[in-house]
Symmetry: C2
Subunit: 218 residues, 2 copies
DNA sequence: ATTACTAGTAGTCGAGTAT
DNA sequence: TATACTCGACTACTAGTAA
């Protein structure tokens, strides 16, 4: 129990994004245990690879490792699931990039199109708008991954298979749209794909590098 | 450690909002411990007043108590603080209600007005728009309370003192606005106060009971 | 299939204290 | 001041098993 509490306290102090200076007694005070326990746990957490630290006779500098961060973050996401992220609008920002054209190939598939029309209420233009997300928006993507969206089922043709896809109603430039999130990701992590009934790129004369905002409903 | 994990697992299963049926071995599977441990913890959690349950030879029905829910929720909020809720738009919905007129009295104070103008960029109409929140939006209010907003400092007159207030830029009906969150709350918990440079009530002919949406930036 | 007791072991605790 | 060791007490674990 203290192990988790200590890890959480370190996260609260910001150790997931920077090195922090914290003494074992300070930490003990925050987590309601003895200085010895805090010290012992810090040593153990280091051993387990969850934190990195430099401990000396005059204090220590602590930082969560990616593994430690991951552990706390997944706990956070569990709680997000539990307490819900309902009725929330996520605003993604990023710049327009050219897809490989593969997006259109996917979306154009009749099986996908039918489901989009049925579940989203519109027939998407057979092409995706690809956005390279800003740093801030990257977190949101990770977050939205855990939310329940509209499920689009995959299927197989003779040549290949198309995976399950999750989507969320969205709006961009006052146009109806949807965020597409494949379960099997084939994109770089900082890119999202948007579909819309209109060919938004042409309608608004968009070019690569233009800044675009997308509001996603959950 | 298991104690927290088990409590979290129960929350994940929805036990904070309804009674759930879960066997000790099921719970043990999810939290990676033995059936005996899960069983023992459930008994202990009940003893501590964190859960309520009906255990019998053919399973048990479990539900978090308000205390248990509070415990997990505060953990969640700690993590929210740590990992941030940046770049998020919160959409509040509710129905318009008449304030006591006290809102206008507050907002009208010169010391507040100056700070609003300086920190929000507009001089609010001296009156608040009060919204009785929908159930879904209630959660958001609780959530937004923990976020860093724009601080408006309190002050004292000869007669009385006005407390610190936190506010967030917002938009409602395409009008610039701000959500006002007093630290010392004097309202019922399901009500939020909005200010705006315009007298929105008149401009849009709003009456009590009308549904209003407010998008709050964080 | 459940819940949950017992017993033995492993893990965790804080006090005292060394460095 | 720090960190962190030893040690005795206590707690929590799992396996076995009863009900």
């Amino acid at each position: 129990m203290q192990k988790l509490l200590i890890l959480i306290e370190l996260a609260k102090e910001g150790a997931h994004s920077k090195s922090i200076q914290i003494s074992s007694s300070e930490l003990a005070g925050e987590t309601d245990c003895s200085q010895q326990t805090a010290s012992r746990w810090l040593a153990k957490l280091e051993e387990e690879g969850l934190i990195k630290r430099e401990a000396g006779a005059q204090g220590q500098i602590v930082e969560l490792t990616p593994e430690g961060t991951e552990m706390i973050k997944s706990l956070w996401q569990d709680l997000n699931k539990a307490f819900g992220d309902s009725s929330r609008t996520f605003k993604f920002t990023g710049e327009l990039v050219s897809g490989t054209g593969e997006g259109g190939y996917y979306i154009g598939q009749e099986e996908y199109q039918e489901q989009f029309e049925e579940k989203l209420g519109f027939k998407p233009y057979p092409g995706t708008i690809d956005l390279r997300l800003d740093r801030d928006s990257l977190r949101l993507k990770e977050r939205i991954r855990n939310l329940k969206g509209i499920e689009i089922e995959g299927f197989s043709t003779e040549e290949r298979s198309f995976g399950d896809v999750k989507c969320f109603p969205a709006e961009s430039m006052d146009e109806e749209a949807a965020l597409i999130l494949p379960y099997r990701t084939h994109h770089e992590e900082d890119i999202i794909e948007i579909i819309s009934p209109e060919k938004i790129r042409d309608k608004y004369d968009l070019e690569d590098g233009n800044r675009v905002e997308v509001e996603v409903e959950t």
